[in-house]
């Protein structure tokens, strides 16, 4: 089939019917796009220099999504303090997004301050693998992509249609990633800002000796923490 062949030969092709060459991977550049949003046309690289939380929801005017949007709106100021912008997406029209945002304001008194991508042709949803056919072929699942200031995918979260996300976890994740970048450390399970962080395990004997003299809080040579 000539059309299929030409699609496969063109790595930039991202039409809804095509499979992307590769879904986003941690540590790899986030796929670039230009999108129609409730705030006008936006390109992903318009966010260069800041962090982006790109997240999808199944559909406008649905109850779980409405609770999520109000929760995302509530954390938007905290995220902006961290140089993070929110960018929503669903397979709905700009008109539907605008009507829903106005409805949330009218019924709940909450402003939605971030743009929402109208991905009617599923182009970006397909590019990012946001559609889980086992759940729905017409809606995006609850996906979150954390993209750093140089456009690298740093974290991905996937929730099913039935389960609203925990926005406190998204803030915790951002704090952990930014702490990692700033101090070159890792963060333990359930870590929160202010708690001790993990010193990356040593790769050489020389590093083992050095860390034992460095004053870290070590349980064993491979398990050391420090305050930052």
């Amino acid at each position: 089939m000539p059309n299929s062949e030409s699609t496969l030969q063109d790595p930039s092709h991202t039409a809804a019917s095509a499979q992307p060459a590769s879904l986003p991977r941690l540590g790899m550049p986030a796929p670039l796009f230009e999108a129609v949003t409730t705030h006008g046309k936006i390109r992903l690289d318009d966010y260069h220099g800041g962090w982006v939380v790109l997240f999808s929801h199944p559909a406008d005017f649905t109850p779980v999504c409405t609770t999520e949007f109000m929760a995302f709106a509530a954390i938007a100021p905290e995220l902006r303090q961290r140089n993070v912008e929110l960018l929503g997406l669903s397979i709905d029209s700009p008109t539907s997004h605008i009507a829903w945002v106005r409805n949330i304001k009218e019924k709940f008194g909450i402003d939605i301050p971030f743009p929402i991508i109208a991905d009617l042709n599923k182009e970006i949803a397909t590019l990012y693998g946001m559609i889980m056919p086992g759940e729905s072929k017409t809606e995006t699942s609850r996906c979150v992509f954390v993209i750093d200031p140089v456009g690298i995918v740093r974290a991905m979260i996937y929730y099913p249609l039935t389960t609203g996300r925990n926005t406190a976890e998204i803030i915790r994740l951002i704090d952990a990633l930014q702490t990692t970048d700033k101090h070159h450390v890792a963060t333990p399970a359930n870590w929160k800002t202010g708690e001790k962080v993990i010193v990356p395990p040593p790769a050489t004997m020389e590093e083992v000796d050095a860390r034992l003299e460095a004053g870290f809080e070590c349980t064993d040579w491979y398990f050391c923490k420090k305050a930052v």
């Binding site: 006008g40 046309k41 318009d46 800041g50």
Partner: protein, 75 residues
């Protein structure tokens, strides 16, 4: 186009960005002046450039005669 409303007038954000271009400026300078998010300024200036309201030279935007005329038009 988001920079010009259906009534042919500048949108509020476009008006603020154009007003910030009294002197040529980078998107970062326009964002600081207007207190709009940088991503929004980048997208808005790009759309205004496509509409001929501003022009881009070496990373610096300047308003065009058309842009200045629209900015000074009565609302």
């Amino acid at each position: 186009m988001a920079c010009v409303g259906s009534n042919g007038e500048l949108t509020e954000s476009a008006r603020r960005m154009l007003a910030a271009l009294e002197n040529p400026a980078t998107p970062e300078q326009v964002a600081a002046h207007t207190e709009l998010p940088l991503f929004r300024v980048r997208g808005g200036l790009r759309e205004m450039a496509e509409a001929g309201l501003v022009e881009l030279n070496a990373g610096v935007y300047a308003s065009t005669q058309q842009g200045r005329a629209l900015l000074s038009a009565k609302r």
